[in-house]
Symmetry: C2
Subunit: 461 residues, 2 copies
């Protein structure tokens, strides 16, 4: 057994998963002086041709919570990230004729969420880690956790055999299908649930226009909402858009040929059909994988003696409809580091405190993410929704900081925990409903009075 | 790869798990003429000294649903089982003084549930299988499922290496921690949840009295309900009782020595303390494992193409408080076989039909099992509960077949599906609550009238 010796008096940390959350966690611990080792089963992404990377990553939107967590770890890094984002100030809703687009702003004061390329962000984090001296081990597949309650070990399978490392603390950030979590569960009572959503997604691509410019407005998240299914598109720096088609499985499975698929697009998304192009749609239908969506929750996140913990998708995998998956995972890292500070470097105490403190917020955002599919796919075109939203935003601009639309709290107010945002929203929503009833009542009364006047005029004319 | 060839034109069936449900399923299929192969990771139980078997099995109560399923498969077998059961006609509630016992009957007409030894029942089923020519493979640990959608294979690890079998259909009956289910999940979208209940259990033993007879009434399920925790005891054929102590984890963990444990029993279960004996309690505290309780649910139970299915605890592990775990697992087998009949031997169609048909019933009994802990541990001593139960059973005896107490429907009426029982109970419960309010109202009115009369008498005396 290979045991990593501490290079200083700080404890050693082993992290599994060199995705976005695992990388940020590694960076956070190394910046505090810990001896950090990061493992991933995949090959080093810098060794792979970018065009051959898989087509299953929905584009990312980084918003305040994610940025705050990065700033907490490394302020310069957050500036580097912002240099390569495309701000999106609202949704652009495309109607079924393909002729009309309607902008719906996200914030009250022009706040934006930011489209960013996942691979770019991951590469940037890995570069920072390399410069920081974190030991990163690719092609190390976690096989087994040992002694999780006392002196944790992690056994990895490599091409040339297995190797075991020992650490003071271990962290699982290895995504929704986390093997770290699976191993932890063998030695403790961890509640767990995974629930599939009846929905597939398929990645599509909108190329830059002939002048190498954005074919549609880059500063919006484009949505083609069609109730049962929808298309979205987020801009990339090179003038292209990454687009994703979401539908229930029975919809995509009822389409049996690429010509039916292009016809489906021509009918339902005529402008997108033109933007993507017939040939690309045929190729996508024939070749692009269809991803499934699910929600995962586990509890508690930490092992009983505070030696191991899961963060990010490994602990709470949500559907992508609030654009908070990565932001929330980054927030996990900030909350965890702040707890270590609050406990004066006692990681055990911090790990033990993390689960009860974080649970309500993680439950809240997972539920919001699911609810937001309904909002994106159909409510955005509903008149009552639009009236309520208008009222909500009007009140928000009148009573700044005392009336906050839910989207603002989730995406732009990193100081409001997710669960608190939900509580505030519930209160505001009751008021809004009453206002809406009052408004309708007023219109009816006004209409009746006008009607009576007209009748009087008509009677005596 | 070893592939089992069909010995006749009937398809071949591979079943994982030679516990109660797996054995009954194997027997059911072989009786219909299928070529059945049964695998278990454990050694042949007949090769193990019975006294060395583990102390983690809560005693079983077989009731109508279980018996009906066995009868469906083999009527003679159900008679053999009934020769070795101890009928229990009700609960015997022991109070905290250790002096008072109160019988609460289960049925309206003396119906009984039946205490039976798990090992005896399992051995009996294995003997029947051996006589039926089913091939049973012990010490075969399932490693991997393959080609689940087309021609399923199962790879097993044995002492001397791995071996792979191919079957037309495969069934997982390998319990709550089912590896069969885990393997199935890799190739399909199966929802899954496991939730731990904050409760441990510890097996205890009440020996026969000095005359080798039952020390307490054998024909009752004995309960010592103490709100937060409880003790139960079920009779064995040899005059002893298998007893189980249930408590939240913090209760058992707050007891730090065997002397504290015996004191705890002396205080809370004085009569049980005498029956078990100080020495046995000390030994149990020091040596007996503490089991945890959890609920598991998965959905769907079948693979998308109807080649594989999970039954019993592998699909729905419930807490033991309604005594329905095995009964429900046996019912799974009957429902599945009836679906195969209804589909004229088309197993694929039967597997596909099974999940939607069975879901509501399995969800219902899992919830009832959990709710019944509350009933057993505390409600059985509550006056309102007792009044309502009295009313419930009175109405049940007055309106036979038109008013059925829930317990009767679940335990004695195998013709009423679990979910339907819950629906009927909800309707009856509303009526009962109204009756109870009426009853209390009548008593108050009666009291007021009597009071007024006394006052009149007093005024004019």
């Amino acid at each position: 057994m290979t045991t990593n010796q501490n290079v200083n008096d700080k404890p050693s940390i082993g992290i599994v998963g060199a995705g976005l959350v695992g990388c940020l966690a590694a960076l956070a611990f190394t910046r505090k002086g810990y001896d950090v080792n990061l493992f991933d089963l995949r090959p080093n992404p810098s060794s792979i041709d970018r065009s051959r990377r898989n087509l299953r990553s929905i584009n990312l939107a980084v918003s305040n919570r994610g940025l705050r967590a990065v700033e907490y770890v490394d302020e310069a890094l957050s500036r580097k990230i912002l240099e390569h984002v495309i701000p999106m100030q609202g949704r652009m809703v495309h109607d079924k004729t393909g002729l009309k687009q309607e902008s719906q702003l996200y914030g009250l004061h022009g706040e934006c969420i930011n489209s960013i390329d996942r691979s770019y962000l991951n590469d940037l984090l890995l570069e920072e880690l390399a410069e920081s001296g974190v030991k990163v081990y690719f092609e190390h597949k976690l096989v087994k956790l040992g002694n999780v309650d006392t002196a944790p070990t992690m056994e990895f399978a490599k091409k040339d055999g297995n190797v075991t490392f020992g650490f003071d603390y271990i962290i699982g950030a290895d995504g929704a299908h986390s093997h770290f979590r699976h191993q932890m569960q063998k030695g403790m009572r961890m509640d767990f649930s995974q629930k599939y959503i009846d929905m597939q997604y398929m990645e599509l691509y909108i190329p830059p226009d002939p002048e190498k410019k954005f074919a549609i407005d880059a500063n919006h998240l484009h949505i083609w909402p069609r109730h049962d299914f929808m298309l979205i598109a987020l801009a990339n720096e090179d003038g292209s858009f990454t687009s994703t088609f979401f539908s229930p499985w029975h919809v995509i499975e009822s389409i049996t040929s690429s010509s039916e698929f292009t016809q489906f697009f021509k009918t339902n998304f005529p402008d997108a059909y033109n933007l993507i192009g017939e040939e690309a749609l045929v190729s996508a239908f024939d070749n692009n994988p269809r991803g499934s969506l699910m929600q995962i929750s586990a509890y508690p996140y930490n092992s009983p003696h505070g030696k191991a913990i899961i963060i990010g998708d490994a602990a709470h995998s949500m559907v992508p409809f609030y654009g908070q998956g990565m932001n929330c995972g980054f927030e996990d890292v900030r909350i965890l580091m702040e707890l270590i500070e609050a406990n004066e470097g006692n990681i055990e105490k911090a790990f033990l405190a993390y689960s009860p403190q974080r649970k309500d917020d993680l439950d809240a955002i997972c539920k919001l993410a699911l609810d937001n599919y309904y909002e994106m796919s159909s409510k955005v075109t509903n008149i009552w929704y639009l009236v309520k939203k208008k009222l909500d935003y009007t009140l928000g601009s009148w009573f700044e900081n005392r009336w906050l639309p839910l989207y603002t709290m989730i995406s732009f107010r990193d100081d409001i925990p997710y669960s608190k945002a939900v509580t505030i929203e519930a209160k505001q929503s009751r008021i809004l409903n009453n206002l809406q009833i009052g408004l309708v009542g007023s219109i009816l009364v006004y209409g009746a009075v006008q009607g009576a006047r007209l009748y009087e005029k008509w009677k005596y004319r």
